[in-house]
């Protein structure tokens, strides 16, 4: 098993935000986490990565048979876990292209893979800019996905790459996810829109529905997505409670 969450509970300071999260992600799998605002999707990804102030207070995060629950983010990154932040910060003075070169150097990525991602995500023209400075929502998201997938992570945690961006960008990012999967990586994708999920339909292993700080249902695409389409996310929640893979 590549990544396993065993009864994970997450807190921000004294406040518990997630409990009893179980999930197993194997190689080349795409898992989708869907849920309403405030259900804990972002908290879960940040906690897996070890980003403060999110803290795993119960359970374990197992990566390639190693308990990495307490490891700081940079060590997890070096093991092969990567995260695409929902709102990456502006880093004035750090030029995107030079930063990408540094990542390529550190992680030893082949040029052909870099070029494929550059083209797929259409971010080459952003490389001479400072990281995320003076960029549109779509440009920020595409560049962040590029920098995340660039290192060929074993598992990529993607936090709402499709929020607030145009359809064209959603398609480019969906294609990039396919590139990552085809290159042997796994992806945990957080979203609350169905557009990207539909584009990735053929690649999805499970859709996990997060609500009220726990996973209330994990199912195949055909079990979950049509229910959400038919009843809306809030209407689907009561119908989906209990089913878990």
């Amino acid at each position: 098993m590549l990544l396993e969450l065993r009864n994970v509970g997450v807190a921000i300071g004294a406040r518990t935000v997630l409990s009893n999260i179980n999930m197993k992600v194997d190689s080349r799998e795409l898992h989708v986490l869907i849920g309403p605002n405030g259900s804990g999707k972002t908290s879960l990804l940040n906690a897996i990565m070890g980003i403060k102030p999110y803290e795993v207070v119960n359970g374990q995060v197992i990566f390639m048979d190693v308990d990495v629950t307490r490891e700081p983010p940079h060590l997890k990154a070096r093991r092969g876990i990567a995260i695409a932040h929902q709102l990456p910060p502006v880093l004035k003075g750090i030029v995107a292209g030079k930063f990408a070169d540094e990542l390529v150097r550190r992680y030893g990525v082949m040029k052909i893979y870099v070029d494929t991602l550059l083209e797929t995500l259409d971010v080459r023209y952003l490389l001479d800019r400072y990281l995320f400075d003076k960029m549109s929502g779509g440009e920020r998201k595409r560049l962040e996905m590029f920098l995340t997938l660039l290192v060929r992570p074993k598992v990529a945690l993607l936090d709402e790459p499709d929020s607030g961006v145009d359809i064209d960008s959603v398609e480019k990012m969906s294609n990039a996810i396919k590139v990552a999967l085809n290159s042997g990586g796994s992806v945990v994708l957080v979203t609350h829109s169905l557009h990207m999920i539909k584009l990735l339909r053929d690649h999805i292993k499970f859709v996990h529905v997060l609500y009220g700080g726990t996973i209330i249902h994990s199912g195949l695409y055909d079990e979950v997505v049509p229910t959400i389409e038919k009843h809306g996310l809030s209407g689907a929640l009561s119908r989906l409670v209990g089913g878990t893979h």
């Binding site: 990565m49 940079h74 990154a77 070096r78 932040h85 910060p89 880093l91 003075g93 750090i94 550190r106």
Partner: protein, 402 residues
């Protein structure tokens, strides 16, 4: 110049920065000396020049000893002149017309002391019309003596259509000197000419530094400066003024890294006195330890259309460090467009977390953020100079992050 008035100015403090009693220093000393070569080497390293650059320095003054290495050889082919200022003023009749023209000796006690006791040490550079000096000219002004007052007068004239890249390193070895450095710099940029001026300062915690600079940029000319100070000082105060005539332009970059208990009062002023002139002031200030940085900047427009912009950013990276940003824009014409942005903050946890999630340790993340903050991209500087600045920034970052 009325000498009595200049004598009177010897007690006149500067409007900015701490006032300093000049009797602390050995002013006008003419003690014979031997150059401390090891000290010179150490300063060169601290400036980030490296031995390769050092071997081809065009003008080197240590205290009052002038060691002019490749001074004329390289420049003769261009018909350019590099001389000690006293020699230029003695040999070249026309040179006197550039002396004490942009800076009055009575401005304050430091200009007065330089005028009265400096004996016109410093460098004089002249580049003839249409001459583009491709290789950068390196000048170094070092102090190795204790309680010494180094009073310098530098004059640079880049004539019509000419170009010059000048880089000056000023410093002391990494040991106590308790000295004073005053550099009077008068720069003239002719019509359509271009001067890029880079100055790197590496001082010590007991040094008092008072550079005085004024630049006159003629029609269509351009002046680009890049100033870096990263060492501790007792106090440093400078406020270069750049006067722009019609269609002239300027960019003034400064990087101040405050350390120790130093006081840095570093300003810049641009006076847009010509039509279609434009200027920009970009300053980066990193406050560490117990340092205080006063970042002043002023753009004044008296004729339009003209444009000016100030960007002053500060990063407080020490519990007792202080940064004050004081941007001013002033216009007496409706045709001027003047803007400013100033921001002071600390290294954000979000930024550190972000870089850590990409595989950087916390220390590496801090270093990358500081390096990014201090790196002002200045495409108008030649690559050799950008390399020196890059090395200096690397050195600063390595010290800042242990």
């Amino acid at each position: 110049m009325n000498r009595d008035e200049v004598l009177k100015a010897l007690t006149k403090p500067s409007p900015h920065g701490p006032d300093v009693d000049l009797s602390r220093f050995d002013i006008g000393s003419q003690t014979p000396e031997t150059v401390d070569e090891r000290g010179v080497e150490r300063i060169t390293e601290r400036l980030g020049f490296g031995s390769q650059v050092f071997r081809r320095v065009d003008y080197l003054q240590v205290n009052e000893s002038i060691v002019a290495k490749a001074m004329s050889e390289k420049l003769v082919k261009y018909g350019a002149v590099v001389l000690p200022t006293y020699e230029a003023l003695r040999k070249l009749d026309w040179a006197t017309s550039y002396s004490w023209r942009l800076i009055e000796p009575t401005v304050d006690k430091y200009t007065a002391a330089s005028y009265l006791y400096g004996r016109e040490y410093g460098f004089f550079i002249y580049v003839p019309p249409g001459t583009k000096v491709r290789e950068p000219i390196y000048t170094c002004l070092f102090i190795t003596k204790k309680n010494y007052a180094q009073l310098l007068h530098n004059i640079v004239v880049v004539d019509e259509g000419a170009e010059l890249n000048l880089i000056t390193g000023c410093g002391v070895p990494d040991q106590p000197t308790k000295s004073l450095h005053v550099g009077i710099s008068e720069f003239y940029v002719g019509r359509g000419a271009k001067l890029t001026y880079t100055m790197i300062h590496a001082w010590a915690p007991d040094m008092v530094v008072r550079p005085r600079t004024a630049v006159d940029v003629h029609e269509g000319g351009e002046y680009v400066s890049y100033y870096v100070i990263y060492s501790p000082v007792e106090s440093l105060q400078t406020y270069p003024k750049v006067y722009l005539r019609d269609r002239a332009k300027t960019t003034l970059n400064s990087v101040v890294v405050g350390t120790g208990s130093s006081i840095y009062d570093v300003g810049s002023a641009i006076i847009l006195k010509g039509r279609e002139s434009s200027g920009e002031i970009l300053s980066r200030n990193l406050g560490r330890e117990n340092s205080a940085i006063y970042a002043r900047s002023r753009i004044e427009s008296v004729v339009g259309p003209s444009r000016g912009h100030i960007e002053c950013l500060g990063l407080v990276d020490g519990p007792n460090a202080v940064i004050e940003s004081l941007p001013e824009i002033s216009s007496s014409t409706p045709e001027a467009v003047l803007t400013h942005e100033a921001a002071i903050g600390k290294i954000s946890e979000d930024q550190i977390s972000y870089l850590m999630s990409k595989g950087f340790s916390e220390e590496e993340a801090r270093a990358a953020i500081i390096k990014g903050f201090l790196s002002i991209e200045e495409p108008k500087l030649p690559h050799q100079i950008m390399e020196i600045i890059k090395r200096t920034i690397e050195y600063i970052v390595s010290r800042a992050t242990g």
